[in-house]
């Protein structure tokens, strides 16, 4: 098994909206298995774009993304969906929970999409929500939770199908200090369970717990350090 779980080769993304905007250019990146990496840089310089490309949410203009030996740029949309379902978990800045569902159902839906039968979904969802300390909020709706609690639901959901990689886009962007501290504890806990974690962030606190920091400026990889 490859030591590098994620690898990019000359990854370039250009947005065409009447005029060309270069979001990423020739990015060569390697993420080791089990690492906790942090992508930093000024706003609008390509951090989220890089995260979306390595998570298979978007397609590059050129270059390649490898998940172990699988070239994500060469597979069709359904295969990519399968990869997102089973191998990658996402956590976003604005939590992105489904407002009509309860906390429990928001986790169960990830299991449903992976084809887990309803009778097995509940046990797994309760276990994950217990892991993030929300066992008493199972039937609450997202709008009844604080920002920190919503982010914990999002983390539980991202872990539902036991993915290898957790990709987080500004996970502490909408959280207060206390909630951010809880989030960091959860991230470390997840990483200690062997998950590879990649976080896009502006937060120095998040950077502090990372094993490595990747800087991006003007769509280019600026510096990579341990």
């Amino acid at each position: 098994m490859s030591e590098m779980i994620i690898r990019t080769e000359k990854l370039t993304k250009i947005y065409e909206n009447g005029y060309s905007t270069v979001a990423l250019q020739d990015v060569d990146l390697e993420i080791p298995r089990g690492s906790l990496s942090c992508i930093m840089g000024p706003s609008g310089h390509g951090k989220s774009t890089l995260l979306h490309l390595i998570g298979g949410l978007d397609r590059p203009t050129s270059g390649k993304v490898f998940l172990e030996d699988l070239d994500l740029t060469a597979v069709d949309a359904n295969h990519l969906a399968e990869v997102r379902c089973r191998r990658i978990g996402f956590v976003f800045q604005f939590f992105n929970l489904l407002p009509v569902l309860t906390v429990l159902e928001n986790v169960e839906i990830a299991l449903m999409l992976a084809g887990i039968p309803p009778r097995n979904q509940r046990e797994r969802a309760e276990e994950l929500l217990g892991l993030v300390g929300l066992e008493d909020k199972l039937q609450a709706k997202p709008n009844q939770l604080s920002g920190g609690q919503r982010q914990r639901v999002a983390i539980a959901r991202s872990l539902a199908n036991d993915p290898d990689i957790l990709l987080m886009d500004e996970p502490s962007g909408n959280l207060g200090t206390k909630s951010e501290r809880e989030l960091l504890e959860n991230i470390e806990k997840v990483n200690q369970r062997g998950k590879t974690v990649v976080i896009v962030t502006h937060s120095p606190s998040v950077a502090k717990i990372s094993h490595r920091i990747i800087y991006i400026q003007d769509g280019r990889l600026k510096k990579e350090g341990e």
Binding site: A77, N78, R84, L113, A114, P118, R157
Partner: protein, 385 residues
């Protein structure tokens, strides 16, 4: 969590929009069901009236069209066109019993009523009528009426009746026959001919044959002897049903257009929902939902609109057809539908056709919005604000 649960939760999140979209479908289906229900009883009702006529052959003037043939069964007024000379020629044929009809209209308390001039004794035997109250007597001053007419206008034997300005005495009320005979005032033929000023003419002649295997021969003989046309009861039913069927199909087409209009309501609702839930579609895609999963979720929503609208429309349609049937204005086209008995309530065929139509139309309406949702780019969808 199941797809069904997710679909239902999404569907009902905007309750007023959900309700109005359902109502759009329900109104269309209700009108379709009403017309289907009324139409289902049509054939049976036409056959029933044909049986009530009690004739295997109907002698009509030459050149009658199918609309006039309908009136033989519905009791609408008919032009007088067969002279007495021809009636006698037909009646003189061995092996048949012929009874002439002169069908006209009058009004009692401003309500239109059918008046039929008949030969009293032959007709009584022909129809096997029984008298319920009073006596069976028809002459220049006396009439008898069907049971429904007596009931509707609260008539009793001995009452006075005015027909076209002439006074008559109601001598008797016939026993209920369960057909259009109950809705008629019967006059002696000669009296009716004089009253309506039609000379010695009648509208048509009903003929009963002794040997039904010789129908063609009798038919030919009648046409050879008299200047008339002959139609068999089966031909009569066929041509009546053909015309009624055309009218029914046209009305059902109009109802179907109403359902199709509601389908555009579904498309609009679904496109709005997709626009509003773009980010949620992105979330599902990030969680690993395939294109066909997104497609099926939105298609199920459309189908559910059709299903629920169909159920509501069925209930409303059955209720409407049950309550509306007795109030349908009598005419050549609706005469057979004018009774609640002619409405086949909860016919499996009507339920099946209406539900299938509702769901198929809703699914077709959902295809484009569902396809649009499934083609969204995950990153665009999830970044949508």
């Amino acid at each position: 969590m199941t797809r069904g649960k997710l679909v239902f939760k999404n569907l009902t999140r905007k309750k007023s929009r959900f309700l109005f979209t359902i109502l759009g479908i329900a109104v269309g289906i209700a009108s379709l069901v009403t017309l289907l229900s009324l139409g289902t009883g049509l054939e049976a009702e036409v056959k029933k009236q044909s049986q009530a006529l009690g004739a295997e052959l109907v002698v009509t003037p030459k050149g009658w069209c199918a609309y006039e043939q309908i009136s033989v069964l519905t009791g609408e007024s008919l032009p007088e066109a067969i002279p007495n000379e021809d009636v006698e020629k037909v009646a003189g044929i061995t092996g048949i019993t012929a009874v002439p009809y002169l069908v006209q209209r009058t009004a009692i308390k401003n309500q239109p009523v059918t008046v039929v001039g008949i030969l009293p004794e032959p007709m009584k035997q022909f129809k096997n009528w029984q008298i319920d109250r009073g006596e069976y007597r028809l002459d220049r001053e006396s009439v008898v009426v069907g049971s429904s007419i007596a009931q509707q206008f609260e008539l009793k034997a001995g009452d006075k009746l005015t027909i076209r300005g002439t006074g008559f005495i109601l001598r008797g009320i016939l026993k209920e026959m369960g057909n259009r005979d109950d809705l008629v005032i019967y006059l002696d033929l000669a009296t009716a001919q004089k009253l309506y000023g039609v000379g010695d003419k009648v509208s048509f002649i009903a003929v009963k044959v002794d040997d039904v295997t010789q129908m063609d021969r009798y038919s030919q003989e009648i046409q050879e002897r008299a200047n008339v046309a002959v139609v068999s009861d089966k031909q009569l039913i066929r041509s009546v049903l053909a015309i009624m069927g055309t009218v029914r199909n046209t009305l059902q087409m109009i109802a179907a257009v109403a359902v199709l209009a509601a389908a555009f309501g579904i498309i609009n609702t679904m496109l709005t929902a997709i626009h509003e839930r773009k980010r949620e579609i992105g979330i599902l895609q990030a969680l690993g939902a395939r294109r066909r999963t997104i497609f099926s979720l939105f298609l199920y929503e459309s189908a559910l609109y059709g299903l629920l609208g169909g159920v509501l429309g069925l209930a409303a349609g059955f209720a409407l057809s049950f309550f509306a049937a007795p109030y349908i204005e009598q005419s050549e086209f609706t005469a057979f539908l004018g009774s609640a008995q002619s409405v086949k309530m909860f016919s499996p065929a009507v339920v099946g056709q209406a539900m299938l139509f509702a769901v198929v139309v809703a699914c077709l309406a959902g295809i484009y919005p569902a396809w649009k949702a499934s083609r969204l780019s995950p990153v665009e969808a999830i970044s949508y604000e």
